[in-house]
């Protein structure tokens, strides 16, 4: 350990309270807002002219909106992994990462819900789901579990925030006036009494226990949107586990990326340490191996049999038009990150950050490969349709909306970090006391 002044409660608070955007922060936010505005304009065009502005047609009836939705649902699972699984397993080192994971989960699940509305042909009829909803439909299951997950995630973000809100309310000089009012609105009831702390602790424990099955549900049900159909590439009993393992992987990768960026942007080297990158690096390797295992099951077992219906789909992935993208996703999403992170030197912040980016980028394209190629290989040959129905490449509107939604999710995280401490202050102080006491 370097010889640094010991971390007192005051220093911790000063280090961790939210800071104003610097020049970089302003540029970053500006770029994200620009993406969102372009995306919103593209959606306006889609609302005006219909889904015809997309490249989706009767055969490829689901495109990057749906793969983006799957990506968002996947990444949001990390909230339950880092917060709930680690908390219940009494893993102490994950404390500084819990809030990062939880805000990623919340923003991702919010945009998952939005992007699925974007994909609807008649978004104004959304209320039909509540008037005429059929519980037999997997879409209804998704509506139910995603809403539940959103609320549990919000509470799991909010409850541990209460002690920090008390600190923020006290230190008025740190924040602008309007923010102070906002803090009071959210957390003035919190006095930090013993009873309150006891209740809060219990509530968080209950939430941690409940969020794990709900998290499994959201992604299993999302996988069932595909697995409940007959189509080659989707008709798989492996799908639930395959999706969940992939979700934990991309979520963990996203946390590594976020850790690195927050650490750099807010100079948090003493809180998010090299130890965290080392541990998270190991976890990513484990999860990537797990996902690889399910990929082997998902692709090589059907390929061994080469059933007639599967053959065209699989050969298109392995050696056909989708082959470059397929192997790109396998290598960047799994193999290369495993290779980087297996080595101790690869688990230092910068290489781990790069591995994290590879995981996330690979995962996005992987979701695309799960959704679209299958639709290009229907059971009956594609007949009596215009030529452009037999291919799919997203239009600029689809790209703009997809990128806009990704930017929107990042924007939520960015604003959250501006308003609230991204690393729990009170918990860090408590743990510091414990270590000193030891």
């Amino acid at each position: 350990m370097k010889n640094l002044t010991p971390l007192t409660a005051d220093i911790i608070t000063n280090n961790l309270v939210p800071q104003r955007f610097g020049k970089r922060g302003m540029i970053w936010t500006g770029v994200l807002v620009a993406f969102c505005v372009v995306g919103a304009y593209a959606y306006f065009l889609q609302l005006k002219n219909g889904l015809g502005v997309t490249a989706m047609r009767d055969y490829v009836s689901w495109g990057i909106y749906i793969s983006n939705f799957v990506f968002f649902v996947a990444i949001s699972l990390v909230g339950s992994l880092i917060t709930a699984v680690f908390r219940l397993a009494n893993v102490k080192w994950s404390t500084p990462l819990t809030r990062i994971a939880e805000i990623i989960a919340v923003s991702a699940i919010v945009f998952a819900s939005l992007i699925i509305v974007v994909d609807m042909g008649r978004p104004e009829r959304l209320f039909n789901l509540f008037i005429y909803g059929r519980l037999q439909s997997p879409i209804m299951w998704d509506v139910i579990v995603i809403t539940t997950y959103l609320f549990i995630s919000l509470l799991l973000l909010f409850f541990p925030l209460l002690p920090d809100l008390k600190i923020l309310i006290k230190r008025k000089e740190l924040s602008v006036k309007s923010l102070g009012k906002f803090y009071s609105f959210l957390g003035s009831f919190w006095k930090g009494t013993r009873l309150q702390e006891k209740l809060n602790k219990r509530a968080v424990n209950i939430l941690c226990v409940t969020i794990i099955p709900v998290a499994f549900c959201i992604h299993t049900v999302t996988s069932w949107l595909f697995a409940t159909t007959y189509r080659p590439g989707w008709d798989s009993t492996n799908f639930g586990a395959y999706f969940i393992s992939g979700a934990f992987l991309v979520g963990a990768g996203a946390v590594v990326v976020a850790m690195y960026i927050f650490r750099k942007a807010y100079t948090l080297e003493r809180y998010i340490t090299e130890l965290h990158f080392d541990k998270m690096g190991r976890i990513v390797v484990l999860l990537a191996l797990l996902y690889l295992y399910f990929n082997v099951n998902e692709y090589l077992i059907p390929a061994f049999k080469m059933k007639n219906s599967e053959e065209a789909h699989l050969t298109d992935l392995f050696a056909g038009t989708f082959a470059p993208l397929f192997w790109f996703a396998i290598f960047t999403g799994m193999l290369v990150p495993i290779f980087i992170l297996l080595f101790k030197r690869g688990r230092r912040p910068l290489p781990a950050f790069i591995a994290g980016i590879l995981v996330v980028v690979g995962a996005w394209f992987k979701r695309y490969l799960i959704v679209t190629p299958t639709l290009l290989h229907p059971f009956l040959p594609m007949t009596d349709v215009p030529e452009n129905f037999k291919h799919y490449f997203p239009t600029w509107q689809e790209w703009a909306i997809a990128l806009g939604s990704l930017a929107g999710a990042l924007l939520i995280i960015t604003f959250f970090a501006r308003i609230f401490p991204i690393i729990p202050i009170q918990e860090t102080i408590n743990e510091q006391h414990e270590t000193v006491a030891k």
């Binding site: 002219n49 219909g50 889904l51 009767d58 008649r122 189509r231 009956l380 040959p381 009596d384 349709v385």
Partner: protein, 306 residues
């Protein structure tokens, strides 16, 4: 609601009058304008709504262009006592495309949309190629109905699977679920004549098509209510399509009528993708003893080549 009531009353009256003279059933059957018409002296016996037999001069009868629409809840139940079924004889098909053209015309489908598709099929190398027209299979275990989150696509008691475009949210799960790729989506605002576009939507006519919703072959239940055959059946010059009622055990292509059970038994009828368990209501007769060589239909082939 008021509109529905009147249309229902009209419908009942029309049904009683065998669809010929709805206007004659009330106490005062002749509207003032009718005075201009001269009685021909030839009388026709009709049954009134009250069950009385009345006599009306033939000159006062007015043809009704279309049956009044049935209510949405009636459309969801179907035609009582019927179990519609279709038989497609592959030995007779040479990819003329008249079925498709008639269907597209009757349902005012936009360019690029086809509810009927005619595939050039060849099961394997060294096996015979043949033309296979596909409609909606109106499955008894419809995968599309199973996944619909809002009951917009539904299975009726008469076996027909229909779509309520006023309820469809456009999620396209049914399109992914259908193994026969039968469903068509309105990606853009359908281009329709004003007269069609302004009609209220009916699940039985599937018209007018609406943007952002799914459509597909509907077995023309509006024609069945009129006692007529679906457009594809009557348009086919080679009598490929047979339509009928399983309860009556008869199917017809207009010119020939068969016992459904015997036809399927004698000609070894089968259904598509039986292994999926969807239980289609469309039966195929294998392409043996063909009326035309396969090559005669190649000119119009649009099937994707592998």
């Amino acid at each position: 609601m008021k509109n529905n009531d009147t249309s229902r009353r009209d419908f009942l009256a029309a049904a009683l009058l065998a669809g010929v003279a709805a206007g004659c059933s009330s106490n005062n059957p002749f509207a003032p304008g009718d005075n201009a018409i001269k009685a021909s002296g030839e009388m026709v016996k009709l049954l009134s709504v009250d069950g009385e037999v009345i006599e009306v001069d033939k000159a006062f009868l007015k043809p009704i262009p279309d049956m009044p629409t049935v209510t949405n809840s009636e459309e969801r139940i179907g035609i009582a006592g019927k179990k519609f079924v279709m038989v497609i004889d592959l030995a007779r098909c040479k990819n003329v495309g008249a079925c498709k053209a008639a269907c597209n015309h009757a349902h005012h489908l936009n360019p690029g949309q086809n509810w009927i598709k005619i595939h050039a099929m060849e099961e394997a190398e060294h096996t015979a190629p043949y033309w296979e027209p596909t409609t909606c299979m109106h499955c008894d275990e419809p995968p599309c109905v199973k996944v619909c989150p809002v009951d917009a696509t539904f299975k009726r008691e008469d076996g027909i699977v229909l779509i309520d475009s006023n309820r469809c949210i456009g999620c396209r799960f049914c399109m992914a679920a259908c193994p026969y790729s039968t469903r068509v989506f309105n990606w853009n605002e359908p281009v329709l004549e004003k007269e069609i576009a302004e009609k209220p939507y009916s699940c039985e006519t599937s018209m007018p098509q609406k943007i952002g919703t799914v459509s597909k072959c509907d077995f023309c239940p509006d024609m069945a209510r009129k006692g007529e055959l679906p457009h594809c059946v009557s348009a086919c010059p080679n009598g490929v399509f047979f339509f009928g009622d399983m309860n009556e055990d008869s199917v017809t292509n207009g010119a020939e009528t068969f016992r459904f059970s015997e036809l399927v038994k004698d000609k070894a009828g089968y259904r598509l993708m039986e292994d999926l368990g969807t239980k289609p209501r469309v039966y195929y007769l294998p392409p043996v003893n063909r009326n035309f060589p396969f090559e005669s239909g190649l000119e119009k082939d649009t099937t994707e080549k592998k």
